[in-house]
């Protein structure tokens, strides 16, 4: 299935993934670790080990420091 991954304030990726692939697989396809981002579907965070169930997801990068 094809998924649009919008990395907020950065780039948007079109990613093809296998059926049953997880949000973590989706992140790995665009070279992010689940430790450095949050995945949002319709504005709500989702657990990364779940199968992708949306054709558009947002990825928010963690910001270091303060």
């Amino acid at each position: 299935m094809d998924v649009t991954v919008d990395v907020v304030s950065e780039t948007t990726h079109e990613v093809s993934i296998d059926d049953g692939a997880t949000y973590a697989d989706l992140l790995s396809a665009i070279d992010y670790s689940p430790q450095e981002v949050s995945v949002l579907v319709d504005g709500s965070p989702v657990p990364e080990d779940q199968p992708v169930a949306a054709d558009t997801v947002q990825v928010v990068r963690l910001i270091k420091g303060g």
Binding site: Q35, S38, S44, P45, E48, Q50, I63, K64, G65, G66
Partner: protein
């Protein structure tokens, strides 16, 4: 996917424990872990009383970590007469970036009705990080200057406000990175200092006459969970990267840890639990009144404690002024 504790949708997965939690149970879990850490570090002096309370100064930058720390401390101890808390913010002279995060600090302190103090490099030292980065007289990374100045002001003002403890928002990722860096650098004395200065149980630490003891109550919480907590609780955290951020070695370690965590969930936790035990052993060997600490004397220029004639901060300021 349902929450492990109720039938609401999970918002997160903790790979290191296998758990899935909804918004409510996740936030409760973060708070519970922070409170457990506060207890196991004996952060609250058992001898503090309403007549003779402890003073905690919180280093509040306005970023997610310190905002979450301040919020949870206020929730937990805001009404406790044994503790007086105040937040201390440092403006480094980074235009835009720090102006906005200072606004976040002011908003949070207002919300919590907490005393808030702001000090700046410009007023204290007559410098601004934006200019220091431009001139770079020592040919160093920006964070190398900034860290020296920030530690100096936190220490000086925490002391001025009568702090018994200085609390900072370092999270699990920060601490595991520091632990691994100390190990990889082979610096056992630094590990001993780390224990006595900031990660040891207060009942086990050697007395530090010259420095205000520090504590890091968020150090069991992964960075990602701190960010998620700030977002779900709608805290006024300022979410932008410092334009001068440049800790190359730390970045390398961070990436190494992400990769390890992905293949071996729980690595950060196990690094810290082993490291804390080792650090305590190192502190028994090197901590307290060792030779090195005996050599500390007052800096000839500013009076802060240093191992040399003139402290590192004053040397850097001289070098910046010479440009």
């Amino acid at each position: 996917m349902e929450c492990d504790k109720c039938d609401r949708d999970a918002v997160m997965q903790a790979a290191y424990s296998g758990g899935h939690l909804c918004e409510t149970h996740f936030c409760r879990s973060v708070e519970k872990r922070v409170r457990r850490r506060i207890r196991s570090d004996t952060l609250l002096d058992p001898e503090a009383t309403p007549d003779d309370p402890e003073t905690w100064v919180i280093g509040l930058s306005g970023g997610k970590d310190s905002v979450v720390l301040t919020h949870i401390l206020d929730e937990t101890f805001g009404e406790d007469p044994r503790i007086e808390m105040l937040a201390l913010t440092i403006h480094e002279g980074i235009e835009g970036y720090r102006d906005e995060s200072v606004d976040a600090c002011v908003e949070l302190a207002d919300d919590l009705e907490m005393r808030h103090e702001l000090v700046s490099y410009e007023e204290e030292f007559g410098i601004r990080m934006d200019d220091v980065v431009e001139d770079d007289p020592e040919n160093m990374a920006p964070c190398a200057y900034c860290g020296v100045f920030r530690r100096d002001l936190l220490e000086e003002y925490a002391d001025e406000y009568g702090a018994d403890k200085l609390l900072t928002g370092h999270n699990l990722d920060d601490e595991a990175q520091t632990a691994l860096m100390n190990i990889l650098e082979g610096d056992v004395k630094q590990i001993a200092k780390h224990f006595d200065a900031s990660i040891g149980d207060f009942e086990e630490r050697a007395e530090q006459d010259d420095f205000i003891p520090r504590a890091k109550p968020l150090r069991d919480i992964p960075e990602k969970e701190v960010a998620l907590y700030a977002q779900l609780m709608e805290l006024p955290a300022h979410i932008t990267e410092c334009p001068h951020a440049s800790e190359a070695y730390r970045g390398e370690i961070q990436e190494l840890l992400w990769n390890l965590e992905e293949n071996h969930p729980g690595t950060r936790h196990s690094i810290m639990s082993g490291y804390e035990e080792l650090a305590e052993l190192a502190a028994d060997r090197y901590g307290g009144d060792d030779e090195e600490n005996k050599d500390l004397s007052e800096c000839e220029q500013c009076g802060s404690m240093t191992g040399s004639r003139i402290c590192r901060k004053c040397r850097l300021l001289e070098s910046i002024a010479a440009v």
